[in-house]
């Protein structure tokens, strides 16, 4: 992995700081022009209105500058649209560890997938219920565990 790629891949999501933008699947490409050294980073938003995008762009530029790549451009693309299926296994494990239930697989056919049992990230119980399909950030829903009574965030399938 190039130093540019490594630097960008390590940038964390500003709203869910346990996971990197690479693990979240929003980092689409890091291209370095061998002649000029210019780095072009391609990212895609989780949700169209994601307010973290400006911060992510700034963090990417800062990380590249620190790694010796001051000449950088960050591009945003919207197609193909981000899917929670792009979150890596490592990313899912980190989310669960942080008390955020990872998303179920997004259905390929329908736009909104069927709800599968969501396990409580604290006690592992499948006895959980949705309190609200909209949570603290655009990508999360609010759930509660019927066994340990803890409310928790759930990254909803998209």
């Amino acid at each position: 992995m190039s130093t540019a790629r490594a630097a960008v891949a390590a940038v964390v999501d500003p709203e869910i700081r346990v996971i990197t933008i690479d693990e979240l699947g929003i980092l689409r490409a890091v291209d370095e022009d061998p002649a000029t050294g210019r780095v072009t980073v391609t990212i895609t938003p989780t949700y169209t209105g994601c307010p973290a995008m400006d911060v992510i762009r700034a963090d990417i530029r800062r990380a590249l500058a620190a790694a010796g790549h001051p000449d950088a451009e960050v591009r945003t693309v919207h197609a193909p649209a981000w899917s929670t299926d792009w979150i890596s296994e490592r990313g899912r494990a980190k989310l669960a560890e942080a008390g955020i239930a990872p998303p179920p697989p997004a259905a390929s056919g329908g736009v909104v997938p069927l709800t599968l049992a969501v396990r409580c990230p604290r006690c592992g119980s499948p006895e959980t219920e949705q309190i609200s399909r909209f949570g603290s950030t655009a990508c999360k829903a609010l759930w509660r565990c019927r066994d340990c009574a803890e409310p928790f965030d759930h990254l909803k399938a998209l």
């Binding site: 197609a79 649209a81 736009v111 309190i131 909803k156």
Partner: protein, 263 residues
């Protein structure tokens, strides 16, 4: 069919009619969709900190944010199509009411919670098939925006339909108010489907999908689908209700008072 003696939703004032912009090129079409999303976002955001419960507050704010996200993409692209150097901010903050192309439905006041849900339900039942059709259209940019926005739109429709069912099939009072909200907003849905064969997606082709959704959900909610009669329109030609002017005044005042301000 029930008629409210005191309409919360007023008809557009008759004004001097300008010649309507009937032919929709990609610019007018994209602008209209962007304006729908922008005005809907502004209205939904009015609920922030005043929704009936905390979870609903978060939900409405989230949906507002999604609409704003779609509006930014659409208006940015509309600016590129126009080629006159206007960006998303110029289009959102520096146009007057007569230059907005949003449908009347989104500019209507929020009313009570039932009216807000009726408006959101009809809007989402239109936007979901619209964005889905856009995702497959020939314009690469619009296809990308449609592919992205339709996923979010599906959640909006799901949420609004849930409330329409809950309120419609709830108490006598919630049923009465939900039915009144449906009756009051229904006349405004027809404008959404005015035929425009030249547009990237002809809105008339979305009507069957919309009707199927509405018929199913209203039946489940034990609500009566209103008869179609009076069909106010004009939003796509820039002829709006007086409500839009107040909304824009609030939305634009800061930007106009401090042009180019940053923080």
């Amino acid at each position: 069919m029930s008629a409210r003696s005191e309409p919360v939703l007023r008809a557009p004032q008759s004004r001097t009619k300008t010649s309507p912009v009937s032919a929709s090129g990609p610019f007018e079409f994209t602008l209209a969709l962007g304006d729908d999303a922008l005005v809907a976002a502004q209205r939904l955001a009015e609920w922030t900190s005043r929704a009936p419960e905390m979870e609903e507050d978060v939900a409405l704010s989230n949906i507002a944010l999604d609409q704003l996200g779609a509006a930014r993409l659409l208006l940015t692209y509309a600016g590129e199509l126009e080629g006159a150097g206007r960006d998303e901010d110029a289009l959102a903050y520096l146009r007057d009411d007569r230059e907005f192309r949003n449908c009347l439905l989104v500019e209507l006041p929020n009313g009570d919670f039932a009216v807000t849900m009726a408006k959101l339900f009809f809007l989402a039942a239109y936007q979901l098939p619209l964005y889905t059709a856009l995702a497959g259209c020939g314009d690469e940019q619009l296809a990308a925006i449609g592919g992205k926005a339709r996923k979010e739109s599906a959640y909006h429709l799901d949420h609004a339909a849930l409330w329409v069912r809950r309120l419609g099939d709830g108490t006598g009072e919630s049923h009465r108010r939900m039915q009144a909200a449906v009756d009051g907003t229904w006349p405004y849905v027809h404008e959404l489907f005015a035929a425009d064969p030249a547009a990237p997606v002809d809105p008339a082709t979305l009507r069957a999908d919309f009707d199927a959704t509405v018929t199913t959900v209203l039946a489940e909610a034990t609500l009566t689908r209103p008869e179609s009669g009076w069909a106010p329109a004009g939003g796509r030609d820039g002829v709006h209700t007086e409500h839009l002017s107040y909304l824009l005044a609030e939305m634009q005042v800061l930007h106009r008072a401090h042009p180019g301000a940053r923080w």
